[in-house]
């Protein structure tokens, strides 16, 4: 693969010892995931100013390579030209370590242009160069455009670190899928465009016909499923449900009179348009689905426990509505579709009613129900579900899906609920939109910290400082802080130490599910079984 180089193979353990004796070695390529020899090799190589490139079998190996500060890494399996590029890049990095500073900056930036730093995937210029010879030879190429629609939402809700993790998982899944499944006998290249979308080129191998429309549709369906499964494994159902892939494709036929770049860009544009029209069709279908959901009342409620940080005792439950149809599982997706179809009030009424129905046999003494309410809902003349509940048991959680338009009127509505004894929580505090001033204006009883502040809070001192500030502020206001999205023990320890009294998250409890059919059955079957063991954990 490196035509101007001689390649020597050594066993890993042997190499670690032999490093001192290796004169004239330009680079070391290691494929071990065993940290002990890997560390020894990296350390010795650094002393000798020899770059180390690590071939990583999986995510753990990659993290290790980064931790040990290998000069380059790549995920296996990788195409030979990527490996070559990584080795050259590592070699040149060491070689120019002594040249002028400005050159190095340019090179770092140039490198970023060619490979996406996060996913390690080649960018378009690299892909076009690689394809040049192939398309001349075969005369045709299929461009696929994979449009990932919910990624920005993930960033809004969970913060950019989470989005980065999700993109990495997705890139790995897409690569794995293409390597293992689709169009096996043909040449294939995956690239990444900066706005969260993937492109791949499919050049049929000699003697193999290009993929038919049916092949493509089928592959797209399987790819979507595959990526969704991987996301669910790695990041949980909530994030997996926020995502959709729409695949469009276009054929590009080689024409010696037209520049290849132009042909390919045209193909990409066509494929992107095709992906967009698939998306529009899907959206129309989702609106129809939502009308049916509202008509059939086919949502269910997840009750996610909020517990005391020091004892773990249940303090209350947040009611989270989910669609029974897979396409409308995520509440974010449901409400987005509802906003488009002008069905927000209808959907909100259904969610409130269902959450309150389930509350009756769930809450034991003193436990509270946290009910999500959008500011926009307060203007709904049919907002009546709360007329017949005990206000001491319900906390109205103000979740700003839409911006508050008429602030004085909104506060007046809040006042009437407060006078009746309802308490309030503000959601997503500290997310940038809800500054301390606007939180104080709402005089909340509970302040829910934005998930992005909790994610990896144990290693980020700025987040810790912000949460500490919020805890102090809440104390002055007579409110209690809730940290949601706790996924790891370290995060729990940190928020505890910072004085957060209430916590919620998958690390502590999973949401308790009550399906509509199941609830109805349980109610119909017999009262003697009571709450059918749901509270047993």
């Amino acid at each position: 693969m490196l035509p101007d180089c001689r390649v020597e193979r050594r066993a890993t353990e042997e190499l670690a010892d032999a490093m001192d004796a290796l004169a004239g070695v330009r680079a070391v390529l290691v494929s071990t995931s065993n940290p002990v020899p890997l560390r020894a090799i990296v350390e010795k190589a650094r002393l000798q100013r020899v770059p180390v490139v690590v071939a990583c079998r999986d995510e753990i190996a990659r993290r290790r390579a980064v931790e040990l500060r290998a000069d380059e890494w790549y995920r296996t399996p990788a195409p030979p030209d990527e490996i070559e590029w990584r080795v050259r890049s590592a070699t040149s990095r060491v070689a120019i370590a002594s040249t002028a500073a400005a050159d190095r900056i340019e090179r770092v930036e140039y490198e970023e242009m060619l490979y996406d730093t996060l996913t390690g995937m080649p960018t378009l210029p690299v892909m076009i160069e690689r394809t040049r010879g192939l398309i001349k030879e075969r005369g045709e190429l299929v461009v696929f455009y994979l449009n990932f629609v919910r990624y920005t939402k993930i960033e809004e809700i969970y913060g950019w670190e989470k989005l980065d993790e999700v993109l990495e998982t997705t890139a790995a899944a897409v690569r794995e899928f293409l390597d293992a499944n689709a169009f096996r006998s043909t040449r294939m290249m995956v690239g990444f465009t900066n706005d969260d979308d993937f492109i791949f080129f499919h050049v049929p191998a000699a003697g193999v016909p290009a993929a038919t429309d049916r092949d493509v549709t089928e592959a797209a369906r399987r790819l979507q499923q595959f990526v969704a499964e991987r996301l669910e494994e790695a990041h949980g159902e909530d994030i997996a449900a926020l995502f959709d892939i729409y695949v469009g494709y276009a054929h590009v036929y080689y024409n010696p009179k037209i520049r290849l770049e132009r042909l390919i860009y045209r193909g990409i544009r066509e494929a992107a348009n095709a992906a967009r029209s698939v998306e529009e069709r899907e959206r129309a279908r989702k609106v129809a689905d939502l009308r049916r959901v509202i008509h059939d009342r086919s949502i269910y409620i997840d009750y996610h426990p909020i517990v005391l940080a020091d004892t773990g005792r249940v303090f209350g439950y947040e009611a989270l509505a989910r669609g029974e149809l897979r396409s409308l599982r995520s509440p974010e997706v449901m409400f987005e579709v509802a906003a488009e179809a002008d069905l927000l009030w209808e959907l909100s009424r259904l969610c409130r009613a269902r959450a309150l129905e389930g509350m009756r046999d769930r809450l034991t003494d003193g436990e509270l129900l946290f009910l999500n309410v959008d500011p926009h809902d307060f203007a709904d003349p049919a907002f009546v579900e709360l007329e017949h509940v005990d206000p001491r048991r319900v906390v109205i959680e103000i979740t700003e899906r839409t911006a508050i338009k008429d602030y004085p009127k909104f506060r007046e509505r809040l006042r009437t609920f407060r006078d009746r004894g309802f308490r309030f929580a503000v959601d997503d505090a500290g997310s940038g939109y809800a500054g301390l001033g606007s939180i104080a204006n709402l005089e909340p009883d509970f302040i829910k910290l934005d998930i992005s502040l909790i994610n990896s809070i144990d290693t980020n001192f700025i987040k810790q400082n912000l949460v500490e500030t919020m805890v102090g502020f809440a104390r002055e206001q007579g409110a209690m802080v809730i940290a949601e999205g706790i996924e790891r023990a370290e995060e729990l320890d940190t928020v505890r130490r910072l004085g957060v009294p209430l916590v919620q998250g998958f690390f502590l409890n999973h949401p308790e599910r009550e399906r509509r059919g199941a609830a109805r059955q349980a109610m119909a079957q017999a009262g003697e079984r009571g709450t059918d063991g749901r509270r047993a954990e």
Binding site: R39, A40, E43, V66, E67, L68, R69, A70, D71, E72, W73, R93, A97, A101, A102, R104, I105, V108, E111, E112, Y115, T117, G120, G159, W160, G430, G432, G435, L436, S452, T459, N460, F461, I462, K463, N465, L466, T469
Partner: protein
């Protein structure tokens, strides 16, 4: 291997040379290897070549601002995940800290600098870098 005895490398970036010098001396007294850059471009070049464990980065600099430098360092394909970046800033409002989070910064120190506090913060960030530092 006695790898743990290797002193951690810290990169100090500040256009105010006096400030940078004071911080350098203090850190060197405590046994750290210190590199200094007086502007963002130089800082990025040193960062790429030397891979420091911790970067102390002034926000207000001519040319590339500290925020931009922070973002570029955190995007470095190899070392971006491993480095800890502490911003030196006169800002202390809620919104400024939010902005710092968006660039990927790990910690911050408000100016004027309290050297004792600075040392404590360097230590607590190094503690999270792990044995490879």
């Amino acid at each position: 291997m006695e790898a743990t005895t290797t002193p951690a490398t810290i990169l100090v970036v500040d256009d105010n040379r006096d400030n940078a010098e004071i911080v350098r001396q203090m850190l060197e007294v405590h046994g750290y290897t210190v590199l200094v850059a007086y502007d963002g471009d130089k800082a990025l070049a040193i960062f790429d070549a030397a891979r420091p464990a911790v970067v102390l980065l002034d926000v207000m600099m001519p040319g590339r601002s500290g925020w931009e430098v922070c973002r570029l360092m955190k995007q470095h394909p190899v070392h971006g995940r491993a480095v800890r970046i502490i911003m030196l800033t006169a800002l202390s409002a809620w919104d400024d800290k939010q902005a710092a989070l968006q660039t990927g910064a790990d910690d911050y120190i408000t100016k004027p600098l309290d050297l004792h506090d600075l040392l404590a913060r360097v230590r607590r960030n190094l503690a999270l870098v792990g044995p490879a530092a």
